[in-house]
Symmetry: C2
Subunit: 310 residues, 2 copies
């Protein structure tokens, strides 16, 4: 492994306790979710998306996000625990629960904004602008995520120019981070390379992150493509948590252990311990029964076997 | 899908009937192997590695390569059916059986050359030089493949400079194609990007191909990395055939259907029909019982369902 340098440092944000858990059938208690987050922190992760302040009727798996935050109160100043919010009401609940980092969702299409948050794309943008102002006066960090930034399951392909305009607006409004999300795993690495390079050329890479799903097996290719453009912040999900139980491996986030394995092998420094991640991945599988597990685990077992037999 | 142009044309060579079949436990008859190759040709593939002229004691799955070639005699002038050979004796057998394209193996390490062919790295190079001369006087096409071009399971990491030197020598000797093979699936896309760019800068991309395994889930990332450098020839294996039955998905070639799906989505023209590949992939699974199938199949089924429900 190469030694760390500012250029080589990469942040991996585990969104398994939010994006993963809300997309698999078993509902975990807040205490179980705290246990999973602590396993991730124990592996050296500093960035975790720990829950969402959304309607517990719509998303029962995220009920009790305030209890999750309370259970993680002693996590330390160097950790960034983020909660997802879909609207201003979500922000108020998150702030009241003591959240110090929120992820607000923007959209590449109107249909997805309607399906996800019952508003138009523009309404979501206005809400985000309002939240940004309030959050900064409250001392709360804001990630603005552009969902379906490449393709919408309802409206089809999304114009890169639209994504670039939304990104520019919110970076200029002072969002702490702008995240490009391939929500349904429809992007190919050529598209990712092109869009991220355009964004980095205009804004630099410091505040831009990417969020990929592995639906079409291109998750790691997309991470590499974004890294080629200079992106150094990636979302991922422990154990590839979130895979639809009816189509194994088909729709989960790219697995944290695979992203970390690849980035470390490429000479980047994630600060994350792969053996610790393996334990967190096994815990995710034990708790949910559905996390498929990343491919790093097979590789690590092979490698251990190799060491044993030679 | 974008329209084809010379820049966008990509050749995908299916090595499933060779690299795939010799790395899974069930031995297929020559007639079954012919059936699999014909399914691939039926999907529009023009390049297939159909067998190997190796010791049937060492590799029983490849016995009867002459029968496979005979069964494919009417495949047409536009198809390039290649057989792998490990040495001069293999070349003689292949030529006697009417092979018009052979793949001779070079090595990034001595230990792999010994393990695979019972000779030193240099001896394999000398044999390849001899074969090249004979083949060209026989009108036979030669692919020179550098095995373990990134890492050897016995000797560890391979110096890119060594691979570049071997590549230069055989391109200068007139090999029709030079293939960079990540035999054990140990390369990361940064390494691939760097090595392939150096080779393309020096020799152009026309005669250089790449061969990746998906051991660490980086198969498609490596294909993309090489494509970024200008590489337009890729080996792949139908259904990801070759995955070890004791570690599912762990060591097969990158799946042909996934490579074709990604390259087509990136705007390249492979000339291959994905629905036809799905049928070939199902056949590979029926015949072997072990081909895991690429991820494109889940995506295509999803997409078909989407078309049905909306």
């Amino acid at each position: 492994m190469m030694s760390a340098s500012p250029h080589n440092a990469v942040t991996v944000n585990d969104v398994g306790p939010r994006d993963g858990l809300q997309n698999q059938p078993k509902i975990l208690t807040p205490a179980e979710r705290v246990k999973l987050v602590k396993a991730l922190l124990g592996a050296g992760m500093t960035h975790v998306e720990v829950g969402a302040f959304v309607s517990p009727k719509a998303v029962p798996a995220m009920a009790g996000a305030d209890e999750v935050l309370a259970g993680l109160a002693g996590a330390g100043d160097n950790t960034v625990l983020t909660v997802l919010i879909p609207n201003v009401r979500g922000y108020e609940l998150a702030a009241a629960a003591g959240a110090k980092s929120v992820c607000m969702v923007l959209y590449g299409s109107d249909a997805m904004a309607q399906a996800n948050a019952g508003m138009s794309r523009k309404q979501a943008e206005d809400a985000t602008a309002e939240i940004l102002q309030q959050a900064h006066s409250d001392g709360v960090r804001v990630i603005s995520t552009i969902a379906v930034a490449f393709e919408c399951p309802f409206d089809g392909p999304v114009e890169p120019q639209l994504v670039a305009e939304i990104a520019s607006r919110f970076l200029e409004l002072g969002t702490d981070e702008l995240c490009i999300a391939d929500t349904i795993g429809a992007a190919n690495p050529q598209q990712v390379r092109s869009l991220t390079q355009a964004l980095v050329d205009r804004h630099g890479a410091e505040q831009i992150g990417c969020h990929f799903h592995d639906t079409r097996a291109m998750g790691l290719a997309n991470v590499f493509a974004a890294a080629e453009s200079g992106i150094r912040k990636f979302d991922a999900s422990i154990g590839g948590l979130g895979g639809c139980p009816f189509a194994p491996g088909a729709s989960g986030n790219v697995a944290t252990e695979d992203v970390v394995m690849m980035l470390e092998q490429m000479g980047h420094d994630t600060g994350i311990d792969l053996d610790g991640l393996m334990r967190a991945s096994e815990l995710a599988q034990d708790l949910t029964g559905t996390a498929p597990g990343g491919r790093a685990s097979a590789w690590i077992k092979q490698d251990v076997m190799k060491r044993r037999t030679r």
